[in-house]
């Protein structure tokens, strides 16, 4: 069984095109200023369709994380154990990503991270690594 890879939709294509170009893109509402992720056809806060794509810095902090020891499908078994983190980006949106499990830098909520990209079966997926320094 292969890994589930993202199939871009009309709404999400700019995001995945961004990943392929090394850019972490997100939508912001021109009407109310809300940043959002998952990409949508309208703003989740005010429902206006006046959305604009921006490029994020990739900098953020860990909201929560887990180390997975039981894979959902056989395709993920070779990666075990692996880290899944929810990251709050500085630009005000949230992403789920995998993270390097660096034993020298224990995972912690509030840990600053930078989201870059990792090639998986020919697709660039967002991937976080911890930034050294104090946790907030």
């Amino acid at each position: 069984m292969n890994r589930p890879l993202p199939q871009a939709t009309a709404e999400s294509r700019p995001f995945w095109d961004g990943c392929a170009a090394g850019e972490l893109r997100f939508q912001r509402c021109r009407h109310c200023g809300k940043s959002q992720f998952i990409p949508r056809t309208l703003c989740e806060k005010c429902q206006h369709a006046d959305l604009e794509w921006h490029v994020a810095s990739g900098l953020g902090r860990i909201l929560s994380f887990t180390v997975v020891y039981r894979a959902p499908t056989p395709a993920f078994r070779e990666d075990l154990p692996y880290v899944i983190a929810l990251v709050d980006l500085d630009e005000g949106f949230r992403q789920m990503v995998n993270m390097d499990h660096d034993l020298a830098t224990p995972l912690a909520i509030g840990q600053p991270v930078r989201i870059g990209f990792r090639q998986v079966d020919g697709v660039a997926l967002p991937h976080a690594h911890a930034l050294t320094g104090a946790t907030a």
């Binding site: 909201l63 039981r70 899944i84 789920m96």
Partner: protein
């Protein structure tokens, strides 16, 4: 207050590993049992609600069920809200009978998730609730999603894994009093901690079972309830809360829809959390129950595990909770998992819970949670 609706029949099949069982077979057995419990004939049923199945998935499961059983009701629909389905089915059945559209609605669930799917198959099927683009490519699973909630919760409130484990231990103690429960051997906090990590901080024994089983209730209108045989249990209040589907899109990792659903249910019933005699609350993981118990207002933030350690969730405790053993130890077979909570509340309110009876139980709270704490439905049930 009243919803003008009554649970008049309740039945659940055997639970656990049931070789030779099937999704529709379990549905039929549960349905016939609930109708018989109500003292009704199949022809009295004029509304049917089903949920969903993993082993026999279908776009029109309620129609498939009616065809299987050979009935032709005046109302028939399927409700899909994950673990909240059973409670939502009862709430919807109540609306159907209270509005006069139906007299007796059958709400039926069942799946042979264990023998029909295998553990790996069930885990893989469940993982599909993850977002196809923004969660599943990262290897998300249902346990991993709840683990994200657990890690955050433990960090915020200084809760330990041992405190969450105490919840699983109390569930096993409850299950040991139920002759049908799938898991009855006592466990300790040390056993939970020593069980394999599934997704940190959740261990195997923090997670619900995978089972075969079915369960059904009949919900009747006030006047129609007089035609039934068993003791009718009144649906006093019901409410729902919905905040997201995917955990990546949850507006908060601390507050979920159970807060709104329970508030509405309590208000409609005209009761407070402190009035509840027995609670049957969705416990897909130890963290699920901890978050719900605190969000609903039964315990202060961060204190559900401490309460479990003190025996407050046990028989004789402040809030006897999941007296059948819950999804953690009684069993979990899809939408029927949530229906087992409803059935146990009916047993308790009828005074027929035998060794696990809460003395003088008059008010029960039932709660279902679907997705990753995404869809919530609360019920307040009472003796009539």
């Amino acid at each position: 207050m009243t919803m003008n609706a009554f649970v008049t029949g309740a039945f659940d099949t055997a639970i656990g590993k049931l070789p030779g069982s099937s999704c529709m077979g379990l549905h039929a057995e549960a349905a016939l049992g609930a109708v018989a419990d109500a003292g009704l004939a199949l022809g009295d049923i004029d509304g049917v609600l089903c949920a969903y199945s993993f082993t026999q998935p279908h776009l029109m499961l309620a129609s498939v069920f009616c065809e299987h059983l050979g009935i032709h009701p005046g109302f028939c629909a399927a409700i899909q809200a994950g673990g909240a389905s059973a409670a939502i089915m009862v709430m919807q059945a109540a609306a159907l009978v209270a509005s006069g559209q139906c007299r007796h609605v059958l709400a039926v669930t069942g799946d042979n998730r264990l023998t029909g799917l295998s553990r790996d198959g069930a885990v893989a099927a469940l993982a599909e609730v993850g977002h196809p683009e923004f969660e599943r490519p990262f290897g998300i699973s249902v346990p991993a999603s709840y683990a994200l909630v657990a890690q955050h919760y433990m960090h915020e409130h200084g809760v330990t894994s041992e405190q969450l484990a105490a919840i699983a231990v109390e569930h096993r103690r409850h299950a040991a009093r139920h002759p049908k429960a799938q898991m009855q051997a006592p466990i300790s906090v040390a056993d939970v901690m020593a069980s394999r990590l599934i997704a940190s901080p959740l261990h195997m024994l923090d997670c619900c079972l995978i089972s075969d089983g079915g369960a059904a209730v009949v919900v009747s209108a006030r006047d129609a309830a007089r035609d039934t045989r068993g003791q009718a249990i009144e649906i006093l209040g019901a409410g729902q809360g919905h905040t997201h589907e995917h955990i990546v899109a949850a507006p908060s990792l601390s507050d979920f829809g159970c807060k709104a659903s329970s508030r509405t249910a309590f208000e409609r019933a005209g009761v407070r959390a402190s009035d509840i005699d027995v609670a049957e609350i969705y416990d897909s993981f130890t963290i699920t129950l901890a978050v719900e118990l605190e969000s609903i207002g039964f315990f202060e933030r961060g204190e559900a595990g401490i309460a479990a350690e003190k025996g407050e969730l046990g028989l004789g405790g402040r809030l006897p909770c999941n007296t059948h053993g819950g999804l953690l130890s009684y069993g979990h077979s899809g939408a029927a998992g949530g229906m087992f909570h409803v059935i146990e509340a009916v047993h308790q309110l009828r005074g027929r819970a035998q060794a696990r009876q809460v003395p003088d139980a008059r008010l029960a709270f039932v709660h279902g949670d679907g997705g990753i704490l995404s869809a919530h439905c609360s019920l307040v049930l009472g003796t009539h």
